[in-house]
């Protein structure tokens, strides 16, 4: 069970989890399908489920592609409903990497002035309401993504 970043005990009404002992890029489609189904089964409308799927895909891609450098590695995804929130926990054994440290690019700045890369992290952060990271030494990460179920999505550009 994921602990809410506010420290309160989650009022979890249901949990769905997926364990991949040797996750690869080819598993991303199955991960997306799992997260989309889980989010909808826990009460998310399509637009919210799509946002959560996008955020998880970007995070899982970063783990598989950059954390594990393309080698198979453990990946666990758990989706919970905590009252008005969906909480997704992504756990891995890759070297610690905190995406919340990443500075979001200014979308009003032409690409010429932008820091290269990072659109995956940017998308993750714009698709959910809160992202927290906990690293473990010497390896391992837990990323918690929180998305309110009733939140409007159209204006979520930053």
């Amino acid at each position: 069970m994921a602990t809410h970043p506010d420290g309160r005990l989650p009022v979890v009404t249901a949990t769905r989890s997926l364990h991949l002992p040797e996750a690869r890029q080819e598993d991303l489609r199955a991960i997306r399908a799992f997260v989309g189904d889980a989010a909808r089964s826990l009460g998310a409308q399509d637009a919210v489920a799509d946002d959560v799927v996008q955020a998880v895909d970007e995070s899982a891609t970063n783990v598989i592609r950059h954390g594990y450098r393309g080698m198979p590695g453990r990946l666990e995804v758990a989706v919970e409903r905590d009252g008005p929130d969906l909480i997704v926990a992504i756990r891995d054994d890759a070297p610690p990497f905190d995406p919340t440290d990443f500075v979001i690019q200014d979308l009003d700045t032409p690409l010429a002035g932008r820091r290269p890369g990072g659109f995956g992290i940017h998308l993750t952060r714009t698709c959910v309401d809160r992202v927290t990271h906990t690293g473990r030494a010497p390896a391992g990460n837990e990323l918690i993504l929180i998305r309110r179920l009733e939140h409007p999505t159209q204006e979520r550009t930053t």
Binding site: Q25, E26, L28, R29, R32, A47, D50, D51, V53, Q54, D57, E58, T61, I64, R65, L107, P110, L111, A112, R114, R115, P116, G117, F119, G120, H122, L123, T126, C127, T153, R156, T157
Partner: protein, 137 residues
């Protein structure tokens, strides 16, 4: 993801890359390769048909960048470098919205990803294929 290639000749000849399936980290290299082959064959105008793409990750943006670079005569970085190649579009962006690469019919979630990353500001997006082809003229 499957990729097929059409050529449509109107005012100019447009190479249409039609995608079928998710465009993600496991498939974006296919799109880059299709774009590379098109440019090698002399293409100057490329339309990527996204109408059958239900999902696109940020790796799809890397593919669009790389193809736009190829069309601009730039030498794109290798694929790993391509992951961080967003800045390399600066010449086209500084010169205004590039028009050699255009997109057709993104699903709502795909369009959202294009808008949230600012990519929709410099890659024209169309809903109608005839209008898209005409926009290259």
């Amino acid at each position: 993801m499957n990729t097929s290639v059409d050529k449509v000749t109107a005012a100019v000849t447009v190479t249409v890359l039609r995608l079928d399936g998710d465009l993600d980290a496991s498939s974006y290299e296919q799109l880059i390769e299709a774009g590379r082959k098109a440019v090698d064959a002399g293409a100057h105008h490329v339309l990527v048909d996204l109408r059958k793409v239900p999902f696109m990750g940020s790796s799809g943006l890397v593919a669009f960048h790389t193809i736009a670079l190829l069309l601009a005569g730039e030498v794109p970085p290798d694929l790993e470098g391509g992951w961080n190649a967003h800045h390399a579009m600066q010449r086209s962006v500084e010169a205004g919205t590039q028009t050699h690469l255009q997109l057709l019919g993104p699903a709502p979630s795909v369009r959202k990803a294009l808008e949230r990353t600012g990519m929709s500001r410099f890659i024209p997006i169309h809903e109608d294929e005839a209008a898209a082809i005409a926009a290259f003229a």
